[in-house]
């Protein structure tokens, strides 16, 4: 194992257990996320990838365990986390255009009662520009393609200007152009010193896109630099015997 200097952790998860009814979805997880890196949460369906993301964000109740983000619980400093939910989890018929959705990224900074003004609108348009969506700013979100919807979410994340980004399957069901836009955005965020955690399901592209990986299957299988944790043994433990078909030769 290579010796690396001690780096600050963006996220520290201790003894985390999450269960629906009596069925454990995450079982006694200890895991750290390195600050300033692109980290993928990887595992088969039902491994608890999304649940881990949501448990870190306090969106699902924990049975046990603790989570700290930059050394503090999330509730003490909410401005530091940006969130990109699964595309299918929101109602795209909602009467809003792309610009409205990006503006939502800045609601946290505005706080209660204050409304977004011209400054916010300009910033939101810049963020849309960054993901190549400025011309579609006034388009109702239901009339965007899946890839365009995903890019609106990315623009919203950029507008949040957080230290840590949590993204749930941003690559799910998008076209090649959007996949490239997502990757570029992730790298841009890393270059700006941000930490990004992404739920990812494609083993083949993971080593190219990410620095670190958390291999998960209800229990933690391995975590750390992706070329160290992506061993045949770990992948076998995560996916079972099917793993060798999942990795491109």
């Amino acid at each position: 194992m290579s010796v690396r200097p001690a780096l600050a952790h963006a996220i520290e998860v201790r003894d985390l257990t999450v269960a629906y009814e009596e069925k454990p979805v995450l079982w006694d997880l200890d895991v750290d996320v390195r600050s300033g890196a692109l980290t993928a949460i990887i595992g088969p369906n039902g491994a608890g990838k999304s649940t881990l993301l949501k448990a870190i964000l306090g969106l699902v109740p924990r049975v046990a365990g603790s989570v700290s983000i930059f050394g503090k619980p999330l509730s003490e400093d909410r401005g530091k986390v940006g969130y990109v939910p699964q595309r299918s989890s929101v109602d795209w018929d909602f009467p809003a255009d792309a610009l409205d959705v990006v503006l939502m990224g800045m609601y946290g900074r505005l706080g209660w009662l204050r409304r977004p003004g011209r400054t916010e609108r300009e910033k939101a348009l810049e963020c849309l520009e960054e993901v190549g969506m400025r011309e579609l700013a006034q388009r109702q979100i239901g009339r965007l393609s899946g890839g365009q919807q995903q890019r609106v979410f990315l623009a919203r994340a950029l507008a949040q200007d957080a230290r840590l980004y949590m993204m749930d399957e941003p690559f799910a069901g998008v076209d090649a152009v959007t996949e490239q836009a997502v990757v570029e955005t992730l790298r841009k965020l890393r270059d700006r010193g941000k930490t990004v955690v992404v739920v990812h399901h494609d083993l083949g592209s993971a080593p190219e896109y990410f620095d670190e990986a958390i291999l998960l299957n209800v229990r933690l299988v391995a975590s750390g630099p992706i070329d160290e944790v992506f061993t045949p043994e770990n992948l076998h433990k995560t996916y079972g015997a099917g793993a060798r078909f999942l990795v491109a030769p």
Partner: protein, 371 residues
């Protein structure tokens, strides 16, 4: 204030207030919740009567609102336990609460006249007789003041928390992370919905109350995708239905509540049929257009596929197209016309020849699908 004016005003204000309240309820996919609340308030009314030891407007209002909020709480608890979906939970909760109300009425208030027809259909025509008198001055129908107050309450809440409501409706996860307390917001909003339902219920009856809350918002969303416009339209549609329904009822001498509800039904039905883009007719036309355009694309791809091959002459004959692509001769004519209008093909005798534009369209389509 004349009786006719009083009734018309009550109808208009009820429509406007309920129309406003319904917008976020419909956006949150909780339209049925207003139905549940309107029935579940019966035990609340009884409880209010019980605690106030007699008929008391404020006690009844508080009791009914509490029962409405209890309905929301019970439905959400059942949903959170992951046993049932929201609509099923609603169907479970409100008949139970309504039944408890009926039992309480028949057990303790058997001698009180409680007209079930009046509960369900309301009697807006009685509005002028129930006036609000302060220091000997007649200030007009009580229900008019109640409904106007509720309208202002809804407007104030929406004005103050518009951004927060929008975010917590569209993306409750982000709202939670940013510290906007979507749960607290939800219960505040549902309390106001319960109060609005109770107020409308006492003025116009349960069924019309539900119709006035749900239908204007649904109707408005057929016509626009801009939320502020949805809100303004919804208020306008509610008020308009109140006015038109009242006018129609007096003109042809039928029930006022029935005429208002029918007006609402016609408005939403008409919108569902004829709204641009989202209406049934527009959708059907769009589908037809897309079908022919798609078939024309399939035609040019077929022609491009065989271009420059030995089979080209055979494959591009019109009668061959009919046989091979499985289109009737009418369909072939229609599709060929479509592709000629697009400048994709020209006719040469009994053959179709691909233009350069057509070849590019075919190639472009194949590349686009592969990406």
């Amino acid at each position: 204030m004349s009786g006719a004016l009083a009734i018309a005003l009550v109808a208009i204000v009820a429509g406007a207030s309920c129309g406003l309240a319904g917008v976020f309820l419909v956006l949150r996919r909780l339209a049925m919740m207003s139905d549940a609340i309107s029935h579940a308030i019966l035990p609340g009314l009884v409880a209010g009567y019980f605690f106030a030891r007699g008929p008391n407007l404020i006690a009844a209002f508080l009791g009914a609102t509490a029962a409405g909020v209890l309905t929301v709480f019970l439905v959400e608890t059942i949903v959170r336990m992951r046993r049932l979906k929201e609509d099923a939970a609603i169907g479970l909760v409100f008949p139970a609460l309504f039944a408890i109300g009926v039992l309480l009425v028949s057990r303790y208030f058997a001698n009180v006249h409680l007209d079930t027809d009046a509960v369900l259909y309301g009697e807006i025509a009685l509005a002028p007789f129930d006036t609000w008198n302060v220091a000997g001055r007649n200030l007009g129908p009580q229900s008019l003041w109640v409904l106007a107050g509720l309208g202002l309450l809804n407007a104030g809440f929406l004005y103050l928390f518009f951004k927060e409501l929008k975010l917590s409706t569209f993306d409750p996860g982000l709202a939670e992370i940013l510290g906007f307390r979507p749960g607290l917001l939800h219960y505040s909003f549902m309390t106001i919905i319960a109060m609005t339902t109770v107020g409308a219920f006492s003025a116009v009856g349960a069924i019309l109350a539900v119709a006035l809350i749900v239908i204007p918002a649904v109707t408005a969303s057929f016509w626009t995708t801009r939320l502020p416009v949805v809100i303004v339209l919804s208020i306008g549609i509610g008020a308009f239905a109140g006015l038109l329904g009242y006018g129609a009822a007096t003109a042809i001498d039928v029930s006022i509540s029935g005429a208002i509800a029918t007006t609402l039904g016609l408005l939403v039905g008409g919108s569902a049929l004829f709204a641009p883009r989202t209406g049934f007719v527009a959708q059907a036309l769009l589908r037809r257009r897309q079908r022919w355009a798609f078939a024309a694309t399939a035609l040019v791809i077929h022609l491009a596929h065989h271009r420059g091959t030995d089979a080209e002459v055979e494959e591009s004959r019109l009668d061959h197209l009919q046989a091979e692509l499985g289109w009737s001769s009418d369909e072939v004519n229609r599709i060929v016309r479509e592709s000629e209008e697009a400048g994709w093909t020209i006719r040469e005798g009994d053959r179709l020849v691909l233009t350069e534009t057509g070849a590019r369209a075919a190639a472009g389509r194949l590349v686009a699908d592969r990406a």
